[in-house]
């Protein structure tokens, strides 16, 4: 093999002098430059820090719930305070990331997409279930209290156990089922625009569990399917492509003991849903469908 990649054992300076004849000391220079810049950065950061402490209005104060079953000193739940420099357009997630990367790398929370589609970072911010990535700091009152979702088991810091929520979601047979497909191999099932419109909002759920956490009924009754799962059932029950038989089956599922009747129309699910899904409306519509369905057999 004739690739000319230098061996890793050679140090960079030697390599530089071998291969780059016109600038033998370039590596050194660059390194010095780098060091200088790194120092500058550090100085700058320190200066900023000092400045921040002085000019308090440019920082936001976060009070973050901390708990870790494994680590001594964190086994007792507590709140930690972080001061984060404010920048325009900053979200709660940005602030948390800043706090983690700058002050305490053990600060733990789920996050991924930063754009309200992955549903990882629902948390309790100033007393409301919010997606951290979608919550602008400047709309909140300070100090900003950040806690894990209520009514769920806390795994660590802001991370809660989602298993129960997933169980509920999966209990409503959350998958499309039908008995009739079009004949042609490359043929789609037809669906009217109106029907798509009808289910559209319900398909937007990102499984963040904010709604479930906000519902008092779900808090009191662990088996209650909860608004998200019922909404999932709605998504399929109302999809005309599934056909009548399956709609019957769907109604039976949501009519179970811990199904739609448990909902007391508290509306908090609808209020907190970051995807603006009209959950209560969907639940109520299913109740009416179920009643209509039951009346048929009278």
């Amino acid at each position: 093999m004739s690739t000319q990649i230098p061996k890793q054992t050679e140090n960079a300076e030697e390599t530089a002098s071998e291969t780059e004849t016109e600038a033998p000391s370039k590596g050194d220079e660059r390194r010095a430059e780098k060091r200088r810049r790194a120092d500058e950065r550090r100085r700058q950061r320190e200066a900023e820090e000092a400045e921040r402490a002085a000019a308090d209005e440019n920082t936001v104060e976060l009070r973050v719930f901390r708990y870790d079953p494994d680590v001594e000193g964190k086994q007792e739940p507590r709140f930690d305070t972080f001061h984060v420099p404010f920048t325009k357009g900053m979200t709660v997630l940005d602030a948390l990331m800043y706090a983690r990367d700058t002050y305490d790398s053990s600060l733990t929370f789920r996050h991924s997409c930063r754009q309200a589609v992955c549903g990882s970072d629902a948390m309790f911010v100033n007393g409301g279930q919010k997606l951290a990535c979608k919550t602008q700091i400047d709309e909140l009152e300070e100090p900003i209290r950040v806690e894990p979702l209520p009514h769920a088991e806390v795994t660590k810091d802001l991370v809660v156990d989602m298993e129960h929520f997933y169980d509920q979601m999966e209990a409503v047979e959350p998958y499309f089922q039908t008995n009739e497909y079009p004949d042609g191999e490359l043929e789609e099932q037809r669906q009217t625009r109106e029907n798509r419109e009808k289910v559209k909002m319900s398909t937007r759920c990102i499984w963040c569990a904010a709604c479930m956490s906000s519902c008092n009924i779900a808090a009191g009754d662990n088996e209650y399917l909860g608004p998200a799962a019922i909404n999932k059932a709605y998504r399929f029950a109302m999809d005309e492509r599934e056909g009548e038989d399956l709609k019957q089956k769907r109604l039976e599922i949501i009519e179970q003991e811990h199904g739609v009747w448990r909902c007391q129309t508290q509306f908090s699910c609808t209020e907190v849903c970051p995807k603006d899904i009209p959950l209560t409306e969907h639940i109520q519509e299913l109740k009416r469908e179920a009643v209509k369905n039951n009346l048929k057999f009278w």
Binding site: M1, S2, T3, Q4, I5, P6, K7, Q8, N11, A12, T15, A16, T19, G27, R30, K34, D68, P69, D70, V71, K88, G89, T91, D101, S105, S106, T108, S112, C113, R114, Q115, A116, V117, C118, G119, K134, Q136, T155, K156, M162, Y166, E173, Y175, F176, T178, Y181, L186, E188, Q191, T192, R193, R196, V199, K200, T203, R204, I206, W207, D239, R241
Partner: protein, 609 residues
């Protein structure tokens, strides 16, 4: 230790489709993913899925467009497989209940997209990826496929023969994030990597925080070459403050780009006289940056994307979530004002070298989705071509891994056929520093059987975790941001020799710093500090290969622009760049692009829009 026929790493579109396919073939499948499936970044895709569904359209046209878009660096067998199978896969999604947008007659809608000769992009509002991801996850639930979520796969379990082509893959070792334990997953049939993008190599990206290119880095260290890493797509319309993507759908529907002077620069400054805003992404990204560099940008940073003239009804019908994005993440109201946009890292055309069946050079190791390079996108991906790639190649890899007979692949993998070594000298060291956290294949334990190999790898992974937790040292966050900084400064849309060299030197420094990395959170429960530290290693490996490829390729092709040579050089560069880890000493080599397809031979033409 867990045991399955097929282990799929990653639960985005590609991983889910692969798992379903393998199960269809009767295999016992498990999905191992560091995120719960519905958290995967496929959910962020907005625009749509290209498929030649209509009579007036044909897969051949789609293939032609794709090849042209790739700037003739796609491999024809893969491109043709994509275009031929995409329609049936899209219909399959529809049959699984995916809520596509509809026409009056009830059929799925299609819209025009950049670089396409026919409006063949099927979509579900501006949330196509979300709907696709959820539809497939629903099928996974229906089939009862085992999902191990919140397990971070650390490394592959691969034998360590001298030549990667002789190696075989027997499973993976993973870290259970919830419980803080390392365990192994043995795969009797095959391991399919579907770990998605690597946007975290850059600091302004549309990708998720979890998109750290783990699969690419794992395969790389196990001996699979990384292909065409220098080709990174920068999306022309991302929000300046966060990198959140404003879908190409906006321009597809008729959105217009303006500079500070209110000029429609795509036409007025002659960047794309025919297609204007709908020209290929690289063309538009460069146009925007040129406007900014020449002082016609707004606040010297961005340009304006205006969709007000489309009217409220149409916007609400087709682009509603764009309104939310602009509002929530940038504070702009798309109905009453233009939205600020600038280019941001969006998609990696390159990745794990595979053939059109998703096989890598290592037996039993597959890759599909954004982490793989089959290669269908060549030097530049067309909008709406990634989602079909996930389902087509996800399915293919799944089927193959589950033992379905699929015939001989036409694309060679590894150093077979007409490969050639690269005559390029790097000025700084690349590759491993010392022997920190070596991957499976480099210096791994030699064990007689798969079982023993897995045991040894689990042990080694445990030691690595313990070591990272025990020692004192530097925080990964600094190192990660140093990498992102230099990559964004030097390996961005515009690339110059000096900058690229600078980046390699910076990366070397970062690698050296990484040798001293430590995890400060001692917890065994949900230790994200540890996960991010492991990810940073992957980012380093990828960034380096990316910069190496970018430095070596002295031409302007697709997304890769070089100041030194601002034109395409078909004479010398109609070939793929490959980087092999080579047990810690990265090696650069090339193999020719395959332009002879089943339909025709794709003769390189000038790519103008």
């Amino acid at each position: 230790m867990y045991e399955h026929d097929v282990v799929v790493v990653g639960a985005g579109g590609a991983g889910l489709r692969a798992a379903i396919a393998a199960q269809e073939e009767g295999a016992d499948v498990a999905i191992v993913s560091k995120l719960h499936p519905v958290r995967s970044h496929t959910g962020a895709a907005e625009g749509g899925i290209n498929a030649a569904l209509r009579d007036a359209d044909s897969w051949e046209d789609h293939a032609y467009d794709t090849m042209k878009g790739s700037d003739y660096l796609g491999d024809a067998p893969a491109v043709e497989a994509l275009c031929k199978e995409s329609p049936e896969e899209v219909i399959q999604l529809e049959h699984w209940g995916m809520p596509f947008s509809r026409e009056e007659d009830g059929r799925v809608s299609q819209r025009p997209f950049g670089g396409l000769s026919f409006p063949r992009t099927t979509y579900a509002g501006a949330e196509t990826g979300h709907q696709m991801l959820h539809t497939m996850y629903e099928q996974v639930v229906k089939r009862g496929i085992t999902v191990y979520d919140e397990w971070h796969v650390m490394d592959l379990v691969v034998t360590n023969e001298e030549d990667p082509a002789d190696r075989s893959c027997h499973g993976v070792v993973a870290y259970d994030i919830q419980r803080g334990e390392v365990d192994g997953f043995r795969a009797n049939g095959g391991v399919i990597l579907a770990t998605g993008g690597m946007g975290q190599v850059f600091d302004h990206t549309t990708n998720a925080v979890a998109n750290t290119g783990d699969g690419v880095a794992m395969a790389y260290r196990a001996g699979v070459p990384m292909e065409d890493m220098e080709f990174i797509q920068f999306h022309p319309t991302t929000l300046p403050s966060t990198g959140v993507l404003i879908s190409e759908g906006v321009r597809g529907e008729g959105g217009i780009l303006y500079n500070e002077k209110g000029e429609r620069f795509m036409f007025e400054h002659g960047y794309a006289n025919n297609d204007g805003e709908l020209a290929s992404r690289d063309v538009v990204s460069r146009a925007e940056l040129t406007e900014v560099n020449e002082g016609r940008g707004i606040e010297d940073e961005y340009v304006h994307l205006d969709m007000r003239h489309l009217g409220e009804e149409r916007i609400l019908d087709r682009l509603e979530n764009i309104l939310h994005l602009a509002e929530d993440f940038e504070g702009a109201d798309g109905l009453t004002e233009p939205m600020p946009v600038k280019p941001g890292q969006h998609y990696a055309m390159g990745g794990i070298e595979t053939n059109e069946h998703g096989e890598t050079v290592i037996e039993g190791l597959y890759a599909a989705g954004e982490c793989a390079c089959a290669s269908v996108h060549g030097a530049n991906r067309l909008g709406g071509n990634a989602l079909p790639e996930l389902i087509v190649f996800g399915k293919r890899a799944g089927h193959h891994a589950a033992g379905k007979e699929m015939g001989e692949a036409e694309i060679p993998t590894g150093r077979t056929g007409d490969w050639e070594p690269a005559e390029y000298e790097f000025e700084v060291d690349v590759g491993a520093v010392g022997d920190r956290g070596p991957a499976a294949a480099d210096g791994g334990a030699v064990a007689a059987d798969a079982e023993g190999l897995l045991e040894a790898e689990i042990e080694r992974a445990r030691e690595r975790v313990e070591d990272l937790l025990a020692r004192k040292g530097r925080n990964h966050a600094e190192i990660r941001s140093a990498v992102q900084e230099t990559m964004t400064a030097n390996v961005n849309v515009f690339r110059e020799e000096e900058g690229l060299k600078e980046s390699l030197a910076d990366l070397r420094e970062a690698r050296e710093a990484y040798a001293e990395v430590a995890v400060s959170d001692p917890s065994r429960t949900f230790n994200t500090d540890l996960i991010h530290t492991m990810e940073t290693r992957n980012i380093l490996d990828i960034a380096e290969a990316l910069a190496m490829g970018a430095l070596a390729r002295r031409e302007f092709r697709g997304a890769h622009w070089r100041k030194e040579r601002q034109e395409r050089d078909d004479e010398n560069w109609l070939k793929h760049t490959l980087v092999s880890w080579n047990d810690g000493e990265p090696e650069l080599w090339y193999k020719p692009a395959i332009l002879e397809g089943e339909a025709k031979t794709y003769e390189p033409k000038v790519r103008s829009y």
